[in-house]
């Protein structure tokens, strides 16, 4: 009950941020060089056709009026029509959103599965060879540009070993999954590095804490101390970092989708920007903002599950 109220409160807090984001992106798009009517007509500009399209799209109305229309349509799920695809923006985004979310999800799973054991190992084996190797690996991960890592993986696993598809999305779910492995690894690469370093430092800090000594003096087994005390407490700061990295992955997906030819909203956004398809740009940006806000709410929730000291509904500093 309490957590339900908290969830509701957090969702209500999202609304003003989302509204401002919608206003900002709407205004920004009005400053674009050339309007969508020009983009549709291309080079052959017939003044009458131009005026007709402007009238039809409501571009002659004042900016507040245009916004009111846009916003009421948006509330009904209508984001306008793409000038390039000549299709509803919501339909375009709907199918592509699944791709982007799956990509971010699989990259998150890779990140957790790889960084958790390695970060823990490095922390426990501090200053031993295993720690040194893992830290060098993390440093390389941190320094390598994602698009370069993507191309390397593509060359090794796609072109040379022919293990995984080089590009495209496939038609069935098993094919989608295979198509997501390389881009998922690419996207996870730098997050793995960041998280390994973070978990390592947290494990070292927590190991020195008094309550771990206390647990030992109570005669708890090593396993109980590692999982119940060290790991749990070491993970609390990591959760926040992971959520920041997931939001970072949404940024990364824009580039990764382009390298691997995945039909996601990142790739759609870049196409729309190049083609001045601004209803689509607006739609993509708004969907990205919604995903970020949802990730934030989920993080708060996980945080409270891991750390009982944090009271749900309490005011944050």
């Amino acid at each position: 009950m309490k957590s339900l109220r908290y969830l509701l409160k957090r969702i209500l807090q999202m609304i003003p941020v989302l509204f401002v984001a919608v206003v900002v992106i709407f205004l920004l798009m009005r400053f674009l060089p050339g309007d969508s009517a020009l983009a549709t007509l291309g080079d052959k500009i017939d003044p009458r056709a131009y005026e007709a399209i402007k009238e039809e799209r409501g571009l002659n109305a004042s900016i507040p009026e245009q916004f009111a229309i846009y916003f009421s349509n948006l509330l009904q799920g209508d984001m306008g029509t793409s000038v390039i695809y000549n299709e509803k923006v919501s339909a375009l985004i709907g199918t592509r959103m699944v791709t982007t979310i799956c990509l971010a999800l699989i990259a998150t799973i890779f990140t957790v599965l790889i960084s958790l054991p390695l970060g823990y190992l490095a922390g426990v084996k501090r200053d031993k060879p295993a720690d040194a190797v893992i830290r060098v690996f993390a440093l390389i991960g941190l320094s390598s540009p994602a698009f370069w890592v993507g191309l390397l993986l593509l060359i090794v696993f796609g072109v040379q070993l022919k293990l995984l598809p080089v590009s495209g999305w496939g038609r069935s779910w098993p094919a989608h999954f295979r198509a997501l492995i390389l881009p998922g690894m690419t996207l996870a690469f730098s997050s793995i590095a960041v998280l390994i370093r973070n978990i390592r430092n947290n494990v070292i800090d927590v190991q020195e804490a008094d309550y771990v000594d206390f647990g030992r003096s109570k005669g708890l087994s090593n396993w109980a101390i590692s999982t119940g005390y060290v790991l749990r407490n070491a993970l609390i700061p990591t959760v926040t970092l992971l959520s920041l990295r997931i939001i970072g992955m949404l940024s990364g997906s824009v580039i990764i989708e382009n390298i691997f030819g995945l039909p996601g909203i990142g790739a759609l956004l870049v196409q729309a920007v190049t083609g001045r398809d601004y209803a689509v740009v607006q739609g993509c940006v708004i969907v990205f903002v919604i995903i970020v806000l949802v990730v934030n709410v989920i993080t708060d929730f996980l945080y409270s599950v891991l750390d009982h000291r944090i009271q749900l509904g309490g005011d944050e500093a």
Partner: protein, 308 residues
């Protein structure tokens, strides 16, 4: 900085003795911000030494590209297309017949400038806003933080792309886009530390002495809260170089045929089966630059952390 609540000090907060104690504390705070001079920073942190050597090497390359190559980055040679790396062409040639090594060398200055320029203004503005928000709190704090919430609601790449879409591509607009997206992290870091520092004895002491807000903020608090932002800035330069190169990779950053790392790597995309060196080798260079800057960041972190 220790943050223990000194009850004894608060209890005898009568003007004269407390005033003396306050003056002493305020003095220690100003002293604490002085760098230690006992051991050279490079001896104390090998990461900083290695990182600085790598970064210095690339700064040299950026300033004097002629030392590293005799070629012209814009010279096309139609008879020398898609050649693998050799003594004549260290990184091979691309589909236009450009010598990749020459272009990579000449791109160094532009990429480093993008990295440093993208970080410098957000660093100053972000730190100032964090200082103001943390120190004054109240309305000013909530305004700054609500604005910040709106900025961080966008994935940075998405916002940067939207801005480039409006301003058009090119180096200048790319840097402006980075300015818009990178300040919030500094504000968050500094604000959080100011909130802690505000409760500390040396700030209470400085207040007791009746120092002005400006003096307390800049001479007492700032030196003690800036270190995390400095460490972050080192990694931010890496991130901005990579984001800038990423934008060029997408065709939204530095226009062709200006030599730029991301654009060069992007140019090799269509040739990864036939001429993989076009993308691999310049990317390796970028990774080395990133490694150097990351090591500098780690080194700074070691130095500033051991002070506590």
């Amino acid at each position: 900085m220790s943050q223990s609540d000194d009850k004894g000090f608060k209890a005898d907060a009568t003007p004269t003795p407390a005033g003396e104690a306050a003056a002493e504390l305020a003095a220690t705070a100003e002293e604490a911000s002085q760098p230690e001079k006992r051991l050279s920073p490079f001896r104390r942190s090998p990461s900083l030494l290695v990182g600085t050597i790598i970064v210095a090497f690339f700064v040299l390359m950026a300033l004097f590209p002629q030392l590293f190559t005799s070629g012209d980055p814009y010279a096309l040679d139609g008879s020398q297309m898609l050649l693998p790396p050799s003594a004549d062409h260290l990184m091979g040639t691309d589909n236009f017949g450009y010598d990749i090594w020459t272009r990579v060398v000449y791109a160094t200055s532009l990429d480093l400038i993008i990295g440093v320029a993208s970080v410098s203004l957000p660093f100053v503005v972000g730190v100032l806003l964090g200082l103001l928000a943390g120190y004054y709190g109240g309305k000013l704090d909530s305004i700054i933080m609500r604005v910040l919430d709106c900025f961080v609601a966008f994935p940075f790449m998405v916002l940067a792309i939207a801005i480039v879409a409006i301003l058009g591509s090119g180096v200048r607009n790319l840097i402006i886009a980075m300015w818009v997206v990178s300040w919030p992290e500094y504000t968050r870091l500094v604000r959080a530390e100011v909130l802690v520092a505000k409760q500390s004895e040396y700030v209470q002491a400085a207040k007791t002495l009746g120092y002005s807000d400006l003096r307390i903020m800049f001479r007492h608090i700032l030196p003690n809260v800036i270190s995390s932002s400095v460490v972050y800035a080192a990694s931010d330069v890496v991130m901005c170089i990579m984001t800038g190169a990423g934008m060029s990779f997408l065709g939204l950053g530095v226009p062709q045929p200006t030599p730029e790392w991301g654009a060069i790597i992007s140019g090799g995309k269509s040739f990864i089966t036939t001429a993989p060196w076009i993308s691999i080798l310049p990317g390796l260079m970028m990774a080395v630059v990133g490694l150097g800057l990351s090591l500098v960041g780690d080194g700074l972190n070691d130095l500033l952390r051991t002070k506590d």
